[in-house]
Amino acid sequence: MSMIEFHDVNKYYGKFKALKNINLTIERGEVVTIIGPSGSGKSTLLRTINGLELISSGQLLVDNHDLADPKTDMNRIRKNVGMVFQHFNLYANKTILQNITLGPEKVLKMSHVKAAEDAERLLSLVGLLDQAQKLPSMLSGGQKQRIAIARALAMHPKAILFDEPTSALDPEVIGDVLEVMKKVADQGMTMIVVTHEMGFAKEVGNRLVFMADGEIREDSNDPRAFFEAPKDPRAQEFLGKIIHVD
């Protein structure tokens, strides 16, 4: 029982083909890093998994549910698949605590007390327990992103999607966010992470997918080996342009 399966998936935006014949199977507990040049379809691929974008053809199974089947309850898929965005998207009208408890209370029908207990445990995990009563606008970017991860975890998802979670952050706080992501990975969470943090890809990731022009060009079970010797010419060119590959 794989967590996510793409079979010959295509995605069009009008006439433009954003995903081309994607075949990708992700097992439970895998930490997959997706890299590739801008416009290569990384976000699109990620967003099809929780139905923010619909696929045009092919088959996409998430937790054994066929997303193209009209009988599939998308809300149930989203309940099981969390997402962390580049620009955090914390609920601006809710406190940090409420950001985390809203989903569990309204979707999982958890009691307020239980949801708040859970949230406090998660706030300690991400090191921000003292910020519980603040509004998102009072937090720094790095703090916001750690809250966004806690919000996703609060739903007890089976997988979490990360779309460039550190790209909007100041360099000095990127480490804090990556550290939290590593903790989540260590707990056995299935993670699909679009990022250009090569360190994370090598140390935490156990799979690396390189995309270009809407295609998966390289899919490696050994990220370190990939970075040392990418096989695909586009990957070689792409890595050549990235300054720090340490």
Binding site: N50, L52, N75, R78, K79, V81, G82, M83, F85, H87, N89, L90, Y91, A92, N93, K94, L102, G103, K106, V107, L108, A148, R151, A152, M155
Partner: protein, 218 residues
């Protein structure tokens, strides 16, 4: 100076206040009705429901681009001759103001919802909330906060615009003061001053009230 003292006789003041009462009464009913209708229409516009949203959008655009005076005329003179529906001046004024202000408010409300970034909706949906839950808990509260100032100023315009109904002889503030200075032109300036004061009081109280209400709802 003597003009002012004479103009503000007890009987004239009472007549003015009677007019002000009609202004308040007509405005208050129109404010409530147009807020409800405008909210529903604005939501439908935002939700892009097939055909319905487009049709409503077209009607709103037409209404917003008509002079209010024309709508008032239509409700009072046009309805009886075209549909055989006869409205009294108060009802005609309320209907005309409600139609016009609903169109204005619908656009404010749609714009207010649209101004909340799509990221909030995406985050809420990714969090497992349904579309309606996302709207109710996340989008609408934020949109509402942004919408309060333009809505309040639209309400204030409504009060001022109600004076246009003087043309169909609605016995409101403007009309009553015209009657007073119609009888003695020396009272014209004192009546202008009185109207300015009374409209200011009504509009100021209305905006304070709306803001207080909005704060409580938040």
């Amino acid at each position: 100076m003597q003009n002012f003292i004479d103009a503000y006789s007890w009987i004239n003041l009472r007549f003015l206040l009677e007019g002000m009462w009609v202004t308040i009464y007509v405005s208050a009913i129109s404010v409530v009705l147009s807020f409800i209708i405008g909210a529903v229409l604005g939501l439908i516009r935002y939700m892009k429901i097939k055909y319905l949203s487009a049709v409503i959008g077209l009607i709103i655009d037409i209404i917003r681009n008509l002079p209010l005076l024309l709508i008032i005329f239509f409700m009072y003179f046009g309805l009886p001759s075209t549909f055989g529906i006869r409205l009294n001046t108060v009802t005609a004024a309320i209907v005309a103001l409600t139609v016009f202000e609903s169109a204005m408010l619908a656009e404010i409300i749609r714009g207010g919802i649209q101004s909340i970034s799509g990221g909030q909706m995406e985050a809420a949906r990714s969090n497992g909330l349904t579309y309606l839950q996302a709207m109710w808990y996340i989008i609408l509260p934020q949109a509402f906060r942004n919408m309060v100032p333009p809505i309040v100023s639209q309400f204030v315009s409504l009060v001022k615009d109600s004076s246009l109904a003087t043309i169909i002889l609605l016995p409101e503030l403007m009309y009553h003061s015209q009657i007073i200075y119609g009888q003695n032109t020396n009272y014209m300036i004192p009546m202008f001053v009185a109207m300015a004061f009374l409209y200011f009081v009504v509009c100021f109280l209305l905006s304070q009230l709306s803001k207080a209400l909005a704060r409580r709802l938040n």
